[in-house]
C-alpha cells in the first residue's frame, strides 16, 4: 500500500521519491534508466528493482513531499483486482512529448508496491506482466496509476498527466483524479482551467468548487471526479484542502496539468 507517514508537524519525504520530484523532472523517457533509490528490504525477493524494461517491486515505504499529492489519473476505475491470467494493458492518449513515464502504486496499507517504466512517445499502450505484482499482493488491492509526459507550458517544461486506462474496465464519463492527504483535511475544493489555444493564458472553467467527498482522513485516497473537461486540450486542475490541524497552517494544494484527447486508436 501507499504508506504516507505522518510524523510530527510535517510528514515529508526521506528522499527523492516523490511525485513532486519525479513529475517535475523534465527529460526524455530514454534518460530514465536507473530505478529510483527507494528504500527496500534487501532480503525481499520481490523488492523494487530493475526488471527488463521496468522497475518494479515492493518497497519499505512510499512517501510524498507535499501534504496533498496525486497518485492516479485514470479514465476508468483503476483496479487490478482479480485480473485475468496474463498481462494487463495500460493505455493512454498520444502526446507530442519526448516520452511517456508510467507509474503504478498500491493504495492499501500493508502492500507497498510500485511499478515505474518509461516508453517512447509513439507508444500509447503497455502490456504489463502482472505476475510479480500478483505475488506482491498488489492485484488484490486498489492501485493508483499515472502516466505523464513533459510539455512546454508558459515556456517551462512541465509534467502533463495522460489519463490512463487500466485493464479492460469501462471508461468513465469523467476522469478520476486520486489524491492522498498526509494530514486530516476539513474541506476540499477544486478548480479547473483550460489552456487557451495560444498557450498564453488559462481559461477558468470551475473555480473553488466545494467537493462533497469527505471525510478526508490522513492517508486515505480521495477519488475526485474532474469536472468541466470537454474540449480536447491541456487542463490545469487544482485541488486545495483546508487542514484540520489546530493552529496556523498554510493551505494544502495539489495541482496537475492533464491532457484531454480522444482515446488512442486500438
Amino acid at each position: 500500500m501507499l504508506r504516507i507517514q505522518l510524523r510530527g508537524r510535517a510528514a515529508l519525504p526521506p528522499a527523492v521519491l516523490t511525485l513532486l520530484l519525479a513529475l517535475g523532472t523534465p527529460g526524455t523517457a530514454a534518460a530514465q534508466q536507473a530505478c529510483d533509490p527507494l528504500p527496500t528490504d534487501a532480503s525481499d525477493p520481490l523488492r523494487y528493482q530493475r526488471l527488463g524494461d521496468r522497475c518494479e517491486g515492493t518497497v519499505v515505504r512510499l512517501m510524498s513531499s507535499t501534504v496533498l499529492f496525486p497518485v492516479s489519473l485514470t479514465a476508468n476505475d483503476a483496479s487490478l483486482a482479480s485480473p485475468p491470467n496474463g498481462p494487463v494493458v495500460l493505455s493512454w492518449p498520444r502526446a507530442r512529448g519526448s516520452g511517456v513515464r508510467l507509474r503504478v502504486v498500491t493504495l492499501h496499507r500493508g502492500v507497498n508496491y510500485r511499478l515505474d517504466l518509461a516508453r517512447p512517445a509513439a507508444d500509447t499502450a503497455y502490456r504489463w506482466d502482472t505476475s510479480r505484482a500478483r505475488r506482491a499482493g498488489a492485484t488484490a488491492v486498489p492501485v493508483g496509476a499515472l502516466a505523464w509526459t513533459t510539455l512546454s507550458i508558459f515556456r517551462q517544461p512541465m509534467p502533463v498527466l495522460l489519463p490512463l486506462t487500466v485493464g479492460a474496465g469501462a471508461r468513465r464519463r469523467d476522469y478520476l483524479l486520486t489524491l492522498v492527504p498526509q494530514e486530516d483535511l476539513r474541506t476540499l475544493r477544486i478548480s479547473v482551467a483550460r489552456l487557451d489555444a495560444g498557450g498564453t493564458r488559462e481559461v477558468p472553467l470551475v473555480t473553488d468548487e466545494l467537493l462533497r467527498l469527505g471525510p478526508y482522513p490522513a492517508n486515505s485516497p480521495i477519488r475526485v471526479p474532474v469536472p468541466g473537461v470537454t474540449e480536447p486540450g491541456l487542463y490545469h486542475v487544482i485541488v486545495s484542502g483546508e487542514r484540520r490541524r489546530a493552529g496556523a497552517a498554510g493551505p494544502a494544494v495539489a495541482d496537475v496539468w492533464m491532457l484531454h484527447a480522444p482515446p488512442p486508436a486500438r
Partner: protein
C-alpha cells in the same frame, strides 16, 4: 670452596632466563600496543551532535528533498529562472538574466503560505541561516555544477497575498488555495521565509557528506569592507558514540571542524532566532577551536570504554612481569 655447578642447574637457569625474557617481551608488546592505541585515533569515529547555531552549511551527496511543509507569513525567492503563478492577473515570468527572478509573497495577517519541499540536486551545497529579523531564515542552495534539470518547488497560497515580482506588484487573490511554482536558476537559488509558527521541525533526515557551522560577517568599513568567517555555534553537545558517555560541550563561538565520511541530518529545528541541528555521522576528522585540536577518540579510550575492568587487569598483568623481570635483573646482576 665454590660449589661446582651441575649441568641440570645450567639448564634450569637457561629455562628460567628464557621465561623471563619471554615474559618481558610479552609485557613490552602489550605496553607498546597500549601506547599505540593511545596515539591512534578511531577513524571513522561515530558522533552524534545537537548543536544550536545561527547558521549551518552542508552538502548532499545525492539528490534529495529539503522536506519542508512550512507555514510562513512571508516567502521571498531569489534567483528562480521561472515563476508560474496560477492566479488571474499575475502572468508567468521567465528570467532572461543570469541573476534570475526575485519574487516576494506576503500573506495577510492570520493566513499563511505553505512552502513545499525544495529539491536538492546531488552535490549541491545548502546553507540555512537565521537573519536579523525574528523568525526569519534564509535557505541558499548552490548547485554543482548547475541547476539544469532540477525540478521546481512550490509555494501554496490562500486568499489575498501581497506580491512583488518582475511583472507584478500588488495583491493577488489565491482563493481557497493556489500554487506558485518556482524553477531553479542556472547556478543558485535563495529562499527566505518568515515563519508563522515556531518552532518548526523538519520531519525527515537528509544524507550529507560535509557540514560546517560558520557564517560570513561583513564589517562595513567604507574604505575596505572586511569579511570574516566566524563560528555560528551558540551552544552544543557532541557525543562520541565509540566512547559511551563521553560528551564534548561546545561553548558559544566555538569553532567546530568536521571531516565527514557520511552523515545524516536527522532534524533541523528553526525557532525565533536560531536553528538546532541534530546530526548523526561518521567522521574521519573532528576538531574544535582555532588550533584545530583533534577530538577524535583514541583506540585506547574506545577499548577502555568497551572492556573497562578487563583492560585494567590486562595492564596490571602486563606490568607485573616487567617489574618482576627488572627486579631479577637488578639483584642478580
Amino acid at each position: 670452596m665454590r660449589r661446582r655447578r651441575r649441568p641440570q642447574d645450567d639448564a634450569r637457569e637457561r629455562t628460567r632466563r628464557r621465561l623471563r625474557v619471554a615474559a618481558l617481551a610479552v609485557a613490552l608488546a602489550v605496553s607498546a600496543a597500549a601506547l599505540t592505541a593511545s596515539l591512534v585515533k578511531v577513524r571513522p569515529a561515530r558522533i552524534s551532535a545537537l548543536v544550536r547555531a545561527t547558521g549551518v552549511a552542508f552538502r548532499v551527496p545525492r539528490a534529495q528533498v529539503l522536506a519542508v511543509d512550512l507555514a510562513a507569513r512571508r516567502v521571498t525567492v531569489s534567483g528562480a529562472s521561472h515563476v508560474l503563478p496560477s492566479v488571474p492577473g499575475w502572468a508567468p515570468e521567465h528570467a532572461e538574466t543570469a541573476n534570475g527572478l526575485n519574487t516576494s509573497m506576503e500573506a495577510d495577517s492570520g493566513d499563511a503560505l505553505t512552502l513545499g519541499g525544495i529539491p536538492l540536486p546531488a552535490g549541491s551545497s545548502v546553507r540555512v541561516e537565521s537573519t536579523a529579523e525574528a523568525r526569519t531564515f534564509r535557505v541558499h542552495v548552490t548547485c554543482a555544477p548547475s541547476c539544469d534539470s532540477v525540478p521546481g518547488f512550490k509555494v501554496d497560497a490562500r486568499g489575498p497575498v501581497a506580491v512583488v515580482s518582475a511583472g507584478f506588484d500588488g495583491t493577488a487573490d489565491f482563493g481557497s488555495g493556489r500554487p506558485v511554482w518556482f524553477s531553479y536558476g542556472t547556478k543558485a537559488l535563495t529562499v527566505e521565509v518568515e515563519l508563522l509558527v515556531v518552532p518548526f521541525e523538519s520531519a525527515e533526515p537528509l544524507d550529507i557528506d560535509a557540514l560546517r557551522f560558520d557564517r560570513r560577517t561583513v564589517y562595513a568599513d567604507p574604505v575596505a569592507p572586511r569579511e570574516r568567517i566566524l563560528s555560528s555555534v551558540r551552544a552544543g553537545t557532541i557525543r562520541l558514540e565509540d566512547v559511551p558517555g563521553k560528551e564534548i560541550q561546545l561553548p558559544r563561538g566555538e569553532e567546530l571542524h568536521l571531516d565527514l565520511r557520511a552523515g545524516s541530518l536527522r532534524q533541523l529545528t528553526l525557532d525565533s532566532a536560531a536553528l538546532e541541528v541534530n546530526l548523526l555521522a561518521s567522521a574521519d576528522g573532528f576538531a574544535t577551536g582555532t588550533t584545530h585540536r583533534s577530538r577524535l577518540p583514541s583506540q585506547l579510550e574506545r577499548l577502555h570504554s568497551h572492556l573497562g575492568l578487563h583492560l585494567v587487569l590486562a595492564t596490571v598483568l602486563a606490568v607485573f612481569p616487567i617489574l618482576f623481570g627488572l627486579t631479577r635483573w637488578w639483584f642478580e646482576g
